[in-house]
Symmetry: C2
DNA sequence: AATATTGCGGACTTAAACGACCGCATTTTG
DNA sequence: CAAAATGCGGTCGTTTAAGTCCGCAATATT
């Protein structure tokens, strides 16, 4: 099964996002209700499948109650 | 002429980007050669016309020789 | 055991970012 | 003045994120 070539960047961002979400004890659906995002989309982001836009980064930060720049705080 | 409705977010991001670029004494074309971006695109971003993707943010940061998170350091 | 929650991924449409150009009016510089 | 640099905006085709909804397997809850 040809796994698609997700960029390291997306994968790193996703992993970082997931770590923050879990540290807040939020499920995908719980986070989704806190911002204007669908839980399936957040799942895809966490798995490095999307090259998110600025507006999405800010939405995620809103739902996580953190500063958007903290979402870029990864390797 | 119906000026398009660019989001505050994009405008803020663009203004911040421009400030950083100018503080480094770089022209649009100079910055463009330092990263994999077209100067016209950077212009559009600075003028709040684009909802940039994560990869673009990182490219800009690379060209500016700063941390990507610093690009989100605005109001 | 029955039910609910969770993570995940597929399907689909629409809007928009991307990428690569080009051209021009206005500075700046040689 | 002439030539270069600069900022900016437009076009066009291609790609893809966004948005929405559905369904399922696995785990957790009661």
């Amino acid at each position: 099964m040809p796994k698609k070539n997700y960029s390291d960047l997306q994968v790193s961002f996703g992993a970082h996002l997931q770590k923050i979400r879990l540290s807040k004890g939020l499920s995908l659906r719980a986070l989704a209700t806190r911002c204007d995002l669908d839980d399936s989309k957040i799942s895809k982001i966490e798995n490095g499948k999307l090259n998110v836009q600025l507006s999405t980064i800010v939405e995620l930060a809103k739902g996580l109650d953190i500063n958007p720049k903290d979402l870029l705080d990864f390797g």
